[in-house]
Symmetry: C2
Subunit: 364 residues, 2 copies
DNA sequence: GTTTATAATTTGTGCGTACATATCTTGTAA
DNA sequence: TTACAAGATATGTACGCACAAATTATAAAC
């Protein structure tokens, strides 16, 4: 009684042993009677502990037969497999395309998809993952939330791992969890491609704006700066705008945002590499409203090749995200993981899509 | 011991009494001791029964205080509300728009949406609803599956009702469950509008193709035929093609489908009212491929005003589904239901959207 | 060797008791 | 009236026992 109730202690020990694979060979867990003697508690206490494991879907009890550890693919007898998909947004931007790619693979395989959005909020992510743990999903695809920081939800991911529920990160992952595979774009490489493109087209005062509270933005920025540096160009802070998710919707109203725009109007930079196409078209619109002629006076390059890229004026030169193909790969990978295969992480390559926003310029 | 274990019997009785609102006034359920005397069983048995109710989220136990019946809005202490949304499809057709409308309302209110698709399969619907029952959702929005037939899943809807989890049907509902409110389009009225439109533009040999295994199609067809009849026109079977979800993807390869197309090519009808825009544009394409000049040789009218309506050639005249506004209304209604209000069913009106596929014709 | 009856094993149900711990109520003192 | 302490009340934990019901292993019979 010292600290925790006995049945919880017993449950924790068994949980750990199951995770470690102690019971892998023999299909059966020890008998209640054996456990009773081992832990020197009453049988009711043992039963209380095992009930917890059963709730978690870790073991199956069969009257007259024994208690069996569920391991490997947890296919319920006649039930359909369920996969939870947790993205930051659902109906915006390129997410419908990615989700569509995932869904087509899952539905072709008779797997039900269960889709939720975190809105890049860690507590929402927590709430969603808790529900997934309650609801017995067979696999989870997650787009990490503010992955530049440590996640508060590592305990939930650990519980998923304890239950042998495969987890696959997409777009963005938590570096603190190296054992969980991910499928992401090669953001560092993308940053380098963007930088190289900017330079090769003759720009000499490159600037950039990046969201840096997720890995994508951090890596894109890092690649961008690295490539610039290796070309002998050091970008001063005045030509960079860094911001987080919370400033996303109204970065242009922040002090830093306004100052940045003012500096651009004075032509302190001759082009801007943008975190993604939303910000690129938003920034272009602001500058145009203030009378700047684009793309003549300033060049722009974005990421993702979203609809904005086609609709904006000038049309955006951008790095193309495979979207549907990306989602399909993610779905296929998770299905293989559910079937017990070990999967490696993937960094997909970007494709440059040349449009009108980054024309070649002549510098004396 | 006769039939069922005692603890199950006790649980069932309590479940029923809770559903009937016996404990509504006093916030607290009877104490374990009182229940023990009432049912004349041991306290352990009572606890076993109450544990089941707790798993279902029907009651809350507080050590030192008592056992409380959860009724009305089940807001978990600090947790976020979760709403399950079950549609037939997610990424196709007008569903992204409807879902987007729902999502915007829910996310504005800090409610997490949990989206799944049935693919119009009753067993998939069952599997999804079971997961929702496990995972403690606070409300459910469902698009009924093949609502022209009885549903096999009425038991699950009953369990949702027992737990005071509000359910709202959208687009299509089960007539056998009159107590569950729904938000649908006025499909019967839409059928009449389409018929009136066809007649007023001078068509004299109207035909139609309808999916009739869901309420929408049945009602659209009924309204269409009623309006025709009241105008003195009886449509022979040869000018109608009726089919179900399973024939959806390749109706044109079925015997009936082929025969129907052949009759159209012989101009046995001068216009076709179609279940929705997918079928309208699909049918137009087939006829055009066979050399028919549209819309001169045959008129078409669809339902829903999906993208197809804009993209097809000729552009489709169709009845406009409000999509986002529809979804928003659905979301708002469910939120009110979660807050304990009683909501009435809604039939939303269609708006005729005139494009090019149903031109006025001159008949001698 | 196969079948069938029997016994042993294992989990499920049910009762009773005791004490722990959190909460609520009541009474007393300031 | 407020604050605090003691007691009453309710659920939580833990033990023990007995028997039921399903499964599995064993032994006997053909």
């Amino acid at each position: 009684m010292s600290e925790q109730p006995k049945y919880l202690q017993v449950a924790d020990i068994l949980r750990k042993e199951i995770a470690e694979g102690v019971f892998r060979d023999g299909q059966t867990l020890m008998t209640e009677e054996e456990l009773r003697m081992r832990f020197n508690v009453s049988r009711q206490t043992i039963r209380q502990a095992i009930a917890l494991l059963e709730d978690d879907g870790l073991v199956d009890r069969r009257r007259g037969s024994g208690t069996y550890v569920r391991h490997g693919p947890r296919r319920r007898m006649q039930g359909t497999l369920h996969v939870g998909v947790v993205t930051t947004y659902i109906t915006d931007y390129i997410f419908p395309n990615i989700v569509s790619g995932i869904e087509s693979v899952l539905s072709e395989n008779g797997v039900v998809m269960n889709l939720s959005a975190t809105y890049n909020n860690s507590r929402t992510e927590r709430s969603i993952l808790e529900r997934m743990l309650d609801g017995q999903v067979d696999g989870v695809i997650v787009e990490g939330v503010r992955t530049a920081q440590e996640t508060e939800n590592e305990d939930l991911y650990r519980r998923l791992a304890e239950r042998n529920i495969p987890v696959l990160f997409m777009n963005s992952y938590y570096p603190g969890m190296p054992n969980v595979p991910h499928v992401v774009m090669d953001d560092y490489g993308g940053g380098r491609i963007a930088a190289r493109e900017v330079l090769s087209r003759g720009y000499r005062k490159p600037g950039g704006m990046f969201k840096v509270d997720d890995l994508q933005g951090k890596e894109r920025l890092r690649g961008f700066l690295d490539e610039m540096r290796s070309a002998g160009i050091l970008i001063p802070d005045e030509r960079l705008l860094l911001f987080g998710t919370d400033e996303r919707m109204n970065w242009q109203n922040t002090r830093e945002g306004k100052a940045f725009v003012e500096r651009l109007k004075k032509h302190e930079a001759d082009c801007v590499t943008c975190y993604n196409d939303v910000f690129a078209s938003s920034l272009m619109g602001i500058l145009q409203q203030d009378g700047m002629k684009l793309p003549d006076e300033m060049g722009f390059i974005g990421f993702d090749n979203a609809i904005y890229a086609e609709l904006s004026n000038p049309k955006l030169t951008t790095l193309g995200h495979p979207k549907e193909a990306f989602g399909a790969l993610v779905g296929e990978k998770l299905l293989r993981m559910i079937n017990g295969e070990r999967e490696r992480s993937v960094n997909m390559a970007w494709t440059l899509i040349e449009r009108d926003s980054l024309p070649r310029v002549d510098n004396l």
